[in-house]
């Protein structure tokens, strides 16, 4: 739901000394199960079972009538062949890819530049910029979307006024961004990048702060220019952090629902529908719950590859698990 995924580890955790070592009675053997019990039940009820239900749903024909009868015929892989045979799906997939690539590359490039900027400025400027970033981070997505709608309002939106004043792009007064799919998509990408930027920039800034200064001094002694330093010193050291950020941002941007739904409801003419919105529309607007489930499963499978990579990387670095 929200963006913090990696817990800031407060202490280097060594494999725990356990209570069993202290007191080996029978009660103690069941204590840990009692303690994780409630969490297990919650996971089973709200995540585990629904995942099974989702898979089962995608193999049924669950339409509006099934809502009341509770019965739905088993149809095997029909939903998948129907979804995959629909050109709408492929357009949506393509659109989702475009949005994710645009969002992730925008986030990574601008985030990297902002992090480098934070490294170079005076203390007051660093505080100012990071406070601004933190405030953007804090903005609830729904509020951010409402502001976006207002910023780009055709008649009175301040952005149209600014663009018109620039006299570069011509007259934008009364320009309706939301009537053209590509322009609406651009607004959505801009919103996701703006909202996601603080997390990327501040994470990269934190990681850059960990790079020992002598490396830069050595590079400077060897006569490396700014570009060379970025390419041969900063980038390789940041590679693991960059990889995790790219993975997370891809997953988040593919699944993003609120900014698109609130801004455009996937329109005009389905022109801003991405996979997350598509599965929602299929299920809740067209009442084809099985079709929606099939789309959701395809999306999850596409992202699963990335998720596995992420989990392996995380575990390779956390020894407390072992």
């Amino acid at each position: 739901m929200t963006s913090l995924t990696q817990a800031p580890e407060t202490t280097p955790v060594t494999p725990p000394r356990t209570h069993q070592a202290v007191r080996g009675n029978r009660l103690a053997r069941f204590t840990p199960y009692g303690l994780i019990g409630p969490a297990l039940i919650a996971f089973a009820a709200v995540l585990g079972y629904p995942i099974v239900r989702l898979i089962w749903l995608s193999l049924q024909d669950f339409g509006p009538r099934s809502l009341f009868t509770g019965e739905a015929p088993f149809v095997g892989l029909d939903n998948f062949s129907r979804v995959l045979g629909d050109s709408d799906f492929w357009f949506t997939l393509l659109r989702t890819l475009i949005v994710s690539v645009a969002c992730v590359s925008g986030l990574m490039v601008i985030g990297f530049l902002l992090a480098s900027l934070l490294m170079q400025v005076s203390a007051w400027a660093r505080v100012m910029l990071s406070v601004c970033l933190v405030l953007v981070w804090a903005m609830p997505m729904v509020s951010a979307t409402m502001i976006w709608r207002w910023l780009f309002e055709p008649q009175y939106g301040v952005l149209n006024w600014v663009i018109t004043q620039l006299k570069v792009f011509g007259d934008f007064s009364a320009h309706d961004w939301f009537s053209s799919p590509s322009q609406a998509l651009f607004l959505i990408i801009a919103l996701i990048v703006w909202k996601g930027l603080p997390f990327v920039a501040l994470t990269l800034y934190a990681a850059m702060g960990q790079i020992p200064g002598d490396l830069y001094e050595a590079a400077a002694l060897d006569g490396a220019g700014r570009w060379n330093v970025a390419r041969n010193v900063t980038m390789p050291i940041l590679a693991p952090v960059l990889a995790v950020l790219v993975l997370l941002e891809v997953i988040w941007s593919v699944n993003s629902f609120t900014p698109i739904w609130v801004l455009t409801q996937g329109g005009p003419d389905g022109g801003t529908t991405t996979l997350g919105v598509y599965s929602y529309l299929e299920a809740f607007t067209r009442n084809d719950y099985s079709g929606g489930a099939a789309i959701a499963i395809i999306t999850v499978l596409l992202l699963a590859v990335l998720s596995v990579l992420y989990v392996r990387r995380l575990f390779a670095q956390d020894e407390a698990i072992a």
Partner: protein
Amino acid sequence: MRRKRAVPNTIAVLVSLVVIFPVYWMFATALKQPGKILSATPEFVPWPLSLDNFRTALTHGPFLHYVRNSLLVSVSTVLIALVVALGASIALARFRFIGRRAFLVGLVLVQMVPGSAMVIPLYLMLRSVGAIDFVPGLIITYMTFVLPFTIWTLRGFVAGIPLELEEAAMVDGCGRFGAFWHIQLPLLAPGIVATSIFAFISAWDDYLFAYVFLKSQNNYTLPVWLVSFQTSDGIDNGATIAASAIFSLPVLIVFLLIQRRLVGGMTAGAVKG
């Protein structure tokens, strides 16, 4: 040195202005006199200040009722998540048991499950037991979605407390619960604060689940109401933006307060990368 930093500092000022502008514009619009909002030439400084937009937002329909709904949902999420997560994190940090590793792997995997995929089966499940529009259903859903991060974070804090402290307390006559209450809990306070903020904001900000699960307007949380917000004359931009500002304000304040720790904490997270 001063000279060298002049250029990046100037860039930083410009970048800050661009980055913060939408947030500024939210407050600037909300504080304008309603008549000045729809003007062909925007006024960048709201003057004279006016609270009329806030008044319209607050008095139009039962706004405070939605605030109460949102607070109820978010606070319940935090409280239940804390109790459930504390237990699990103590088990993970203090006990060796069969299935521990599997649970930890599951914890990370579970974070990858997208809400937009889960909303369909969850909706149908709630519906089949007649619990659509049932606020506790929403709370339990939020609670479960914040659990992985909450458990993961608290586990680190619990593991950081020396076992000797508890043992000493128990030697001094505290029961295990007494030791937990008097020794562990106070030391866990920073972790509890951090995870509470995370859980609260997750529930406070969510739109998707609340939008799908809640059918009657009476149960709406703030974001759902905000998106559907219209006055009798159609969309009142000033009032909508003022309502957005009220909705954002608590989160903005919390983030400002923890700003230093947030940026500092990420340093620790980034090393793990």
